[in-house]
Amino acid sequence: VDEIGMFTALRPRPEPLDVSGARDRLASAIAGTPVQRRAPRGTLFAAAGGLVAARARLAWTLGLSVAVAAALVAGVMVAVQPSSPAVLTAQLLADRASAAALAQPAVSPGQWVYRVLDWKAPVFRKAGSTVHTQAGWETADGLVTYGNAGTLGAGGDLPSYSQLESLPSSPAALDAYLERTQGKTYPALDPQAMSVFVTIRGMLENYVVPPALQAEMYQALALLPGVAVDSHVTAIDGRVGVAFVMPHDSRGSVSEIILNPSTYAFMADAMFGDHGTLNIEEAVVEQVIVGAPGSTQPDLTPPGPAELLAEQAARGVESIPDDSTNALALLPSQAYGATWVLRQLRTATGSQTVWATGDDSQQASYVDGTLAVCARTAACAASTRWLMPAGPGYSIVMPQDAPSKLPSSIPQLLATLNSYSTGCADVAGDCNAVNAIVNMAFGYVTQIGGSWFLLLASIPGVTVAHLTDVTGQADIALRFPFRDGVTEILFKASDYALVGYVRDGVQTVLTKAIAVTGPGSLKQRCESYQVPVPGC
């Protein structure tokens, strides 16, 4: 008898676990709706989620359909109205959709799109016939999201938005290219054609595809072996549409790309399983190109430099790869608060090393050769304090296993942050909010919310400046029209990482931030990491 087998005796009586709640959480994650317990990374609502490992942006956080609000394209549809009761073939549908696509305005990658989506996914639960509605904002390239944006059927290895321009421009070549690069084989009648269909659908959903390429995509769809049309399908929101239909097998499973029957804009999609049972369907109820996240008013004005910088920075914090050098963000959230963090700050006059616990409850630095350790708010900390303490506390911004308690909407966030008294003069100009963000971002928050940057870009009078900082690095700065306190926030020009600030005329650049074994220690603390970390 094996000794190992004897340990079976210690196993508690096996009892089944109710996993229905777990299934719902998975379904939520798949569907891209916010999970209650943890905000998904990749939406700006996840201001400081405290995930164990920051991960690359995930497929389900992508989400943009190409459909443009009817208001935007209403004037251009004359040419493609069906004029005769011709039999609708895939080619005819493709021609009409292509013409409609070409008539759309070109939208730049940084422009914001407001979208309302209805979806339902009976595949998740036998009785799951509830229709969910979500509304949110995304940039046209699908890379920065705000609010409850998302989509269901997207995913897979899509070409990135920046690659779209270089995709082959003829439909047949596009098909061949996607077949070659996708490589995923779907258990379908024609796996290659299926993978092209899925990829095109994903791109239509995820990006506002440039008009010319969008036109080619519809042509490419029509060329796929097995693709058919259905001239009368009812989308989830009750609207009737026309669809490209791709059969998966001979048992009735199909995927549909549903277009608006009068504008031929992408409108909905649906996936059916065996014998036509509905698995998932979704519809774009409303989609408008707007000026900024939070707005629902049509506006085709391209974003200004401050907004573009903020979007780039927001994208940066949301796509931290696994091998990130931002090791602090990789610490388990439960370990972070008590961990001592060493920070090196460079100014024009020299370099300063300061220590603080992750939650910034204690700070430490050497004063005249003696290590002074003080509570963050204590009087003795005057010599060690390196950031003003004013701002939302750690437990508000980074509560354990929960999303940030800061408001998620930008106007509310601005109001909340302005309510902290940071000692600056231009209170009417939102200087308190700017100072509070700097205190949080450089003081104790490892996962910065992308919406913070969007907030900064919306401060009245903000401008953008290019400069070389005290470390000799090229930076781009957001510059605020304040008399004192923080007047500039610096981003690295190469990757838009947050690197420093100017407070009361002194430029400070954070050159190092690592977890260490204690106050005053230079030794990197490695044991808490569950993933490989540089230097450990």
Binding site: G5, R37, A154, K184, G273
Partner: protein, 203 residues
Amino acid sequence: VVTRVSRASDPGERLLSDAEIVELSLGEPASFAALFDRHAAEIGQYVRARIGPDLAEDVTAQTFLDAFRQRGRYDTSRADARPWLYGIAVRLIGTHRRAEARYRKLTARALPERDTHDFVERSADRVVAQQFRPVLAAVLDALRPQDRELLLLVAWADLSYDECAQALGITVSAVKSRLNRIRVRTRKALGGANPMNEEETGG
């Protein structure tokens, strides 16, 4: 698109492997739900046995959320996803070490059950092993966490050596040598000899 992932009703049809479901879910995320339906009960039961009912649901949910997020890195040459899922679950259990130890002590103290359930074999081996529960519990307590994880994957989850190696990201020979070390320790703790061999008729 979630076709034929749950049950092959037609003998001519082939059930999709876990690997195929994961691959499918790259393009059709919703099909990942099929993997959950296949394995959540088993993983959930294991997690519950490890850390108790209070935390088990959350850890099981997190296991599949992590799996979903990491599915792009799944090695599709492995048809069975269970070792991968156990590996994720074990890592998460490791983040609740205190709760795990508390629950382990609680259940080790519990009186041996009269096994009337079908799923427990009422073998003489098991009856004998019940007598040595305190000793075995002490051995389990004293193991390094990584050795304990391995041992319990074999003893409680019935994973093969190969599957353990996949779950823990170590080689099969490392699995074997670590299990051998555990055998030796256990034998010593039990008094040098394997009591099983002497008490074939006991109980």
